[in-house]
């Protein structure tokens, strides 16, 4: 069976690391945007972008949170660019068990950049809007692609992460218990 062609908007953030001044406004505004209520709190620990900030090595590297992964890589990358040695896994976007990045600080649930999905959509993602130095620049283009495969939703990813952490049985037990408790409290 041939997949059907479909138009798709590809959203890109162009990251010019040479323009980054390490202010972390992108982290600030991302965490505020995703707070509940919106902008109600702020905590860069929850941001879906992280600025690797090592001024004394002249390293300023904004990295976006990508997919969740249950297991860390077998091999690791270590880049040296222009004589500057970046930390292991520096460029990787994964929310991965090997490191603290891209996880909710308390629950350790994975975080992923959603390009500030909202209704109505924003003109530009907020990290781009708040980066007045143009280290982050937003671009859109249209592409023809094969029919998209279903992407798992945030909630699904979160449950998956919980299963990885606690095991399937434990998580389904807890879910059942919560469901029962909710039903009981509704009756009461």
């Amino acid at each position: 069976m041939k997949p059907e062609k479909k138009k798709k908007i590809v959203k890109t953030i162009r990251i010019d690391v040479d323009k980054c001044n390490g202010c972390r406004a992108c982290e600030v505004v991302c965490s505020a945007f995703h707070a509940a209520p919106k902008y109600g709190n702020n905590n860069p620990g929850r941001a879906r972008i992280r600025v690797i900030h090592e001024p004394l090595k002249n390293i300023f590297l904004p990295v976006y949170a990508g997919e969740y992964t249950a297991a860390e890589c077998m091999g690791r990358d270590k880049y040296i660019i222009d004589g500057k040695e970046y930390d292991e896994c520096a460029f990787c976007r994964a929310s991965c068990p090997s490191r603290e990045a891209f996880k909710e600080p308390d629950s350790e649930l994975p975080l992923k950049c959603d390009m500030c999905e909202s209704d109505p959509p924003l003109e530009k993602p907020l990290c781009v809007q708040w980066c007045l130095n143009d280290a982050l620049v937003y671009e859109e283009r249209e592409e023809e692609v094969d029919e998209e495969e279903e992407k798992p939703e945030d909630a699904e990813l979160a449950v998956e992460a919980l299963i990885d952490k606690y095991g399937f049985d434990k998580v389904s037990d807890v879910l059942a218990r919560i469901a029962a408790a909710k039903a009981a409290s509704k009756k009461a």
Binding site: R24, V29, L56, N58
Partner: protein, 662 residues
């Protein structure tokens, strides 16, 4: 729930090794906001006037500002307050960078430190986990080096660290606390930290900071960012480039230093070099700066780039960070004509942790004493001939407190008195025992007279701002300036704009212009804006310091209200700032501050008018609600809900009671 603030302070007693997390009283936020305001309250309550600044009883407070950790752009100041070993008054250094927001995210508004640790330690604050850790292996390490070593040993690359260098460990009276590109450097705050046996504070926080009215608050933040963009495109016309933009003076981005090098005094605040800025100098300084500056950098959540990463392998200078004016202070004090010298000595000075304003002046003072034969080869064995080498020599002596360095380490005022033999005459640039920016002018400037005399921190940059420093040369420029001058307080628009429009016309010459009542209003406005920033933690570079800043008396009450849920209007905010300002004065009055201390250096201006100056000071004190000695009056204190201060001052006989006392 508490908004903007966390509602908790950390109380550390280094003598006992105890750590407590203490809830704070929300009423104090209403009265003082936070930052410097609540610091002053703690110092008033807990540090009696006879406490020796370097004794365990002195308190050292690392405070966040009220808005630090919220998305308010540039709200990142750590306000470090203590009693200064140099001035013997309450000192409050503010530093930018990343420490204060991190502390908020860790769940604390302040770290209040007393006592003295038996051996060198550092503090590790990691959310709820707080430890006092051994730092004996960090003894003698540079301030930036210490921060790196601590991050490595904790395995926490994202920990924010503030540390002292050797100067702080040795209680040099102008030792700083260094934090990356920023430092709390004035008044010997690093010496107090060293006297407590505290090498560093490391912080990591991953908790939320809440705001009360999210949508409104966010909208106001966006307006601030828009105005920052507007100002980037619209520099003030008719002023030197260094004054045209916002942020701290853009020393790292701008290489045109004509204004500083020709208006400020060189050496021990002696010589003006009006013809210094030639084409050749400009070319050589530009090259030097381009070679040294690797990248411009910001503080937390701020789009400005006031700092720079410096690296200059050709000079053997490894990487460090610099901001503002320190590239020039050493160069000018040493009468060195090349900027390379500035970049190389400033890096070393930063690792030792000394103030970039006081240190070069102390060294220039020592050089003068040597040339006058007051210090001899016996005091300075092997003293080099070349001035630049002399500065490196003196730096080593001072931070190690070796030989005469032990005396010079107390700063110009104390060293002059200890050395004697006429050395006092060479102390011609201190106020309140504190080295001032080296500037020597012709005609008395009555506005600056009041600011130099009365500033509580004895630091002109902590009181000036907002007002052009000189008249605009043409009518068009004046009109252009006032046409969108939105920062002026309500009710003052007409008076302040009229002043700018006519200033420069015949009959508007100093010293008898502007009229004293207008001087009072202009100074009070400028100072009040600083006290607001010092309580909110917003960088003065975006607020009280430059011309036409994005934060001003009209949007600040809205921003503070939306963040905290308090209802504060323009008058209310002004009242809080006045309360904080008065409380800092009261702390110092109790420690002996009087009118006699409020004196700009004799030679600050060539043309002085003692009687007129006395009259200006009288009227300004009156305007502030202070008596002829500069002591806040009883009714002033009571109006500001500082009754307890009034009672204390009456009990001590400093203020008259109702008809009793003196």
């Amino acid at each position: 729930m508490r908004y903007a603030e966390t509602g908790y302070n950390l109380e550390i007693d280094l003598s006992k090794g105890s750590i407590e997390r203490v809830p704070t009283d929300p009423k104090l936020t209403e009265l003082h906001l936070g930052g410097l305001g609540t610091n002053a309250r703690i110092i008033w309550d807990r540090v009696p006037p006879d406490v020796d600044p370097l004794s365990p009883d002195n308190i050292l407070i690392f405070s966040t500002g009220l808005l630090c950790g919220t998305p308010a752009p540039g709200a990142n100041r750590t306000i470090v307050s203590t009693i200064s070993p140099q001035t013997l008054f309450m000192h409050f250094s503010m530093m930018g960078g990343f420490l204060a927001p991190e502390l908020k995210y860790a769940g604390y508004d302040k770290v209040v430190i007393k006592g003295k640790s038996p051996s060198l330690v550092y503090l590790w604050i990691n959310n709820d986990k707080v430890e006092i850790r051994d730092a004996t292996h960090l003894h003698g390490k540079g301030a930036l080096e210490t921060a790196e070593l601590i991050r490595q040993e904790l395995g926490e690359p994202r920990a924010q660290v503030a540390a002292i260098g050797l100067a702080g460990e040795n209680s040099v009276y102008f030792a700083s606390i260094e934090h990356g590109r920023s430092s709390a450097s004035r008044g010997g705050i690093g010496a107090v930290m060293g006297s407590k046996g505290l090498k560093a504070i490391a912080v990591r926080g991953t908790k939320d900071v809440h705001v009360a009215k999210p949508e409104r608050f966010f909208e106001l933040c966006n307006e601030v960012l828009k105005y920052i963009e507007f100002r980037a495109k619209n520099p003030i016309k008719g002023v030197p480039p260094i004054l045209a933009g916002i942020g701290s003076p853009q020393e790292m981005a701008i290489h045109d230093e004509e204004w500083h090098t020709t208006s400020f005094a060189w050496g021990n605040a002696r010589h003006r070099r009006k013809g210094f800025w030639t084409k050749e100098v400009e070319e050589s300084w530009r090259r030097s700066q381009e070679r040294a500056v690797q990248r411009l950098v910001s503080c937390y959540n701020c789009p400005m780039k006031c700092g720079a990463i410096i690296s200059y392998p050709a000079l053997g200078v490894s990487r460090y960070m610099m901001k503002c004016y320190s590239k020039l202070t050493y160069v000018m004090a040493a009468m060195a004509d090349d900027l390379d010298f500035g970049f190389s000595i400033a890096g070393l000075a930063q690792e030792y942790g000394v103030d970039g304003y006081s240190t070069p002046q102390v060294m220039a003072f020592a050089v003068e004493l040597y040339e006058a034969g007051i210090l001899t080869d016996a005091d300075l064995p092997g003293f080099p001939k070349d001035n630049k080498e002399r500065f490196f020599y003196l730096l080593e002596k001072i931070v190690r407190r070796e030989g005469i360095g032990d005396v010079l380490a107390k700063g110009v005022y104390w060293a002059a008195r200890e050395i004697g033999k006429g050395a006092e005459a060479f102390d011609h640039n201190t106020i309140k025992r504190h080295e001032q920016i080296p500037i020597k002018l012709g005609m008395l400037n009555p506005i600056y007279f009041v600011m130099w005399a009365t500033g509580e921190k004895a630091n002109i940059t902590q009181i000036e701002g907002q007002l052009p420093q000189a008249p605009f040369p043409t009518k068009e420029l004046r009109e252009d300036f006032v046409k969108d001058w939105i920062q002026v307080p309500t009710g003052k628009e007409e008076r302040f704009k009229k002043f700018v429009l006519e200033w420069g016309d015949p009959g508007t010459e100093f010293p008898f212009y502007p009229p004293i009542d207008l001087i009072c209003e202009l100074v009070d406005w400028q100072e009040t804006m600083h006290y607001i920033d010092d309580s909110t933690g917003i960088c003065a570079g975006l607020s009280s310091f430059p011309l036409k800043p994005p934060y001003h008396i009209h949007n600040l009450p809205l921003i503070i209200s939306a963040a905290t849920g308090l209802e504060i209007d323009e008058d209310g905010l002004w009242e809080i700032a006045r309360r904080n300002r008065t409380l800092v004065r009261a702390v110092n009055v109790r420690r002996g501050l009087r009118r006699k201390d409020e004196k700009p250096p004799e030679d600050h201006w060539k043309k002085r008018f003692p009687e007129y100056e006395a009259k200006i000071l009288d009227e300004y004190y009156e305007y502030k609600g202070w008596n002829k000695e500069g002591i806040p009056k009883k009714e002033t204190l009571e109006r500001l809900e500082l009754d307890f201060v009034a009672q204390d001052l009456v009990r001590r006989g400093i203020l008259e009671g109702n008809g009793e006392g003196k």
